[in-house]
């Protein structure tokens, strides 16, 4: 640009977002962010108007989950910013790249307890990878560039930019910083992406020497887009794989080496394989407490190779024998190459057939199980899920809330493709499902998106169905409605002597009417006979969102279960399998 162009801060902000290739953003205007909504009128960016700021945040997350690109949300100051805290924290826990722009009171009013003023950067400091209060319109392009750079590199995460109203209104001279200038402006930010060559070689040797190796893969594999190389390594050496809650889909469930999800509600084989392994090969997972159970008894005989881009994850929970800081894709490629070189030089892999046959034995004996309902009995949520799964078109994206339905979905759905599973893992945010599904569908209109929700979760954020209807983003919602806060009920039953305290949601609204009131199709399913027809109808509707209210068995519990604080060895199996427990020893 030869002539220096003068823009308002608001114009500079929207242009900066366009320059960062933002196509869709989610938000809701208000006082202090008003100036930014004006240039949006003539912007190429599609803005999706939500009904609650939390919805905008989760939509941005859903968008980011399925595309790997940062989701963008823009809201005003004060209550809008505080409503954004939950999605920011959720994105921070699950390492989701996200940009949040909040309005702020004018710089002259900051600190005066002005209308809709709050200390947004202070409040969000511990739930963002980085945040910044922009005090001058000249700083906007650099701040936006830095935000995108920080959100998407290293361990991804949310970045918040707080922009006072006068900074949006005042003018600036437009410049667009170069990559070099962005990097030079962040002297303290240099993520390590390449693994240490000595550690890579050591890892390769350990892998070939292990008798009971196990690939323990986490969300980092998806963030680094490393699913294909991980699969190549697994297949080359025939090493079984467990996929954490954040990594469902990173390795196909249909693959013979896939053992599925470990952890508190993982399946018995995945849990036991971790316990008995002599080498955990951790790619992009963080030894979360829901995976390890009691840490002191977790995988007691295993050596650990830990690949993580975040140095702070190395040794945070479990001391690794071979720590490798780096990008999962680059490091796994290097490990694979190193393994291939060792094999070419004449090294051999220890025979792991006995280990694999042991694992297969567990798999045969301990499939994920539930009791079918008696004739005329209540619907089983697991059965509904199996039906939904079997009728879903290939590539369906599944988005869940948090609780029993989430665990059942992870256990019973078959995820065969990366980026088809979206959920709130670390923070466990009830109400995540509906808005995140809308974000996912906005990003991938070519895909069917099923939100699998609970009745408790649904009531937290379902007003966003209005957004879905008005914006023409047609999702499908399956409520596994047991009229309880089901997971809490399960804990009260099992650990509080069946003393049920404040968990019964009976008297919850008519979800069919609710759906219809929001411009969606609502279907109620009470009996087994109605399931197929309802799912078929839902799948055939593409011009509206659909909500199926599955009225399921109230007292169904999620099994297996490792009680909180217990060792993984003490996993509670489905009652029908408890008699076989000795086979897991």
């Amino acid at each position: 640009m030869s002539n220096k162009e003068t823009l308002t801060g608001a114009e500079a902000l929207i242009r900066s977002l366009e320059m960062e290739n933002v196509e869709i953003m989610f938000g809701l205007p208000g006082g202090c962010i008003l100036p930014a909504y004006d240039p949006l009128l003539k912007s190429s960016i599609r803005h999706i108007l939500v009904r609650h700021e939390q919805g905008a945040g989760h939509m941005a997350q859903g968008y980011a989950h399925v595309t790997g690109r940062p989701g963008v949300a823009m809201v005003t100051s004060g209550p809008a910013a505080t409503n954004m805290v939950t999605p920011l924290c959720d994105a921070f826990m699950d390492s989701i790249p996200m940009i949040c722009i909040t309005g702020q009171v004018p710089t002259t009013a900051i600190g005066t307890d002005a209308f809709q003023e709050c200390d947004t950067v202070g409040i969000t400091r511990s739930v963002t990878k980085h945040n910044e209060l922009i005090m001058h319109p000249d700083d906007i392009p650099m701040a936006v560039r830095q935000a995108f750079h920080i959100a998407t590199t290293g361990r991804p995460g949310p970045v918040l930019l707080d922009v006072p109203k006068d900074v949006l209104q005042n003018t600036m001279t437009w410049t667009w910083p170069t990559d070099e200038e962005v990097i030079a402006s962040l002297p303290g930010y240099k993520p390590t992406t390449k693994g240490h060559p000595k550690m890579i070689k050591e890892a390769a040797k350990l892998i070939l020497a292990a008798e009971k190796p196990l690939l323990y893969i986490g969300g980092g594999v998806l963030k680094a887009r490393a699913a294909d190389v991980v699969r190549e390594l697994a297949e080359l050496l025939q090493i079984p794989v467990v996929t954490t809650l954040m990594a469902r889909g990173a390795f196909p469930d249909s693959h013979p080496l896939c053992l599925g999800m470990p952890g508190m509600h993982g399946n018995a084989t995945a849990i036991t394989a971790m316990q008995k392994s002599d080498l955990l090969i951790n790619f992009g997972a963080r030894f979360d407490d829901r995976v390890t159970g009691k840490v002191s008894t977790f995988a007691p005989d295993a050596k650990v190779i830990h690949v993580d881009i975040d140095p702070a994850e190395q040794g945070k929970v479990r001391k690794p024998d071979v720590p490798i800081v780096g990008d999962c894709r680059i490091v796994v490629e290097e490990i694979l190459k190193s393994v291939q070189e060792l094999l070419a030089e004449g090294s051999t892999q220890v025979n792991i057939d006995p280990w694999r046959s042991k694992v297969s034995g567990w798999r045969e004996k301990f499939p994920v199980a539930y009791d079918q309902s008696e004739p005329g009995g209540r619907l089983k949520p697991q059965f509904c899920l199996e039906k939904l799964r079997d009728a879903a078109p290939e590539g369906t994206i599944v988005v869940s809330g948090v609780g029993q339905h989430q665990m059942w979905t992870s256990l019973f759905w078959k995820f065969n493709e990366p980026y088809t599973w979206v959920n709130s893992g670390g923070l466990g945010t009830m109400g995540f499902s509906v808005p995140a599904a809308i974000g996912a569908k906005a990003a991938r209109p070519d895909r069917t998106v099923w939100a699998i929700d609970g009745d408790g979760c649904f009531q937290m954020t379902a007003q966003e169905l209005v957004t879905a209807s008005t914006e023409g983003i047609h999702i499908k919602v399956a409520i596994l409605n047991n009229t309880y806060l089901g997971m809490v009920r399960q804990w009260q039953e099992m650990f509080y002597g069946e003393r049920y305290s404040e968990v019964n949601l009976a008297g919850c609204p008519d979800f069919v009417k609710w759906a219809e009131a929001m411009g969606c199709v609502g279907i109620r399913v009470d009996s087994v006979e109605e399931i197929d027809g309802a799912i078929e109808l839902a799948n055939s509707i593409n011009d509206r969102s659909v909500v199926i209210d599955f009225r399921v068995e109230e007292f169904e519990k999620v099994f297996p279960m490792v009680p909180a604080g217990a060792s993984n060895d003490e996993v509670l199996l489905h009652p029908s399998q408890e008699s076989q427990r000795e086979f897991l020893r």
Binding site: V121, G122, R125, S126, K129, H130, L133, I150, L186, P187, G188, Y189, D310, P311, A312, Q314, G315, K316
Partner: protein
Amino acid sequence: MRTINSNNPFGDSHQHHVLSVLVQNRPGVLARVSGLFARRGYNIYSLAVAPTDDADYSRITIVVDISATPLEQIVKQLFKLIDVVRITELDPRKSVERELMLATVRIDGEHRGQIVELANIFEAKVLAVGSDAISLSMDGTPEKLDDFEELLKGYGIVESQRTGRVALPKLERETRKGALKGKAS
């Protein structure tokens, strides 16, 4: 009264770890650093912060009272802050540490001389003398300050304030020569 241990370079600080944190000199950076300690459940024992000779950067000297394992974790977490440029853990044996103390001590006629004498021994300065109180300033190693403070307590400290320690790595012999040469030229 505690025995005087000014000559013991380790003093009672063997549990302490001194982190010298170089940060970008930007608004909110101290809140980010201190917030991180609070968030992860660690206590800051003392903290001193000021811009470096390059005004774009500040140095925060943090003394933490934790064992080695959580220290490694807190250092890694600190380094994740975008504004943190460099973290050095200073081994008390391999660094120079100084702290400043101001103290106002109650005096009566017969003790004034003793306090002034004590101040002389410890190379403290007398800042002001009143009819019933005396204000002193002293800089030195934190251990030496401890000792001085302990002795002053016997006379009755009205008010005292310490800065928290600042520290830099000790110069190695070779570096020291180099540094001197550099200064000379």
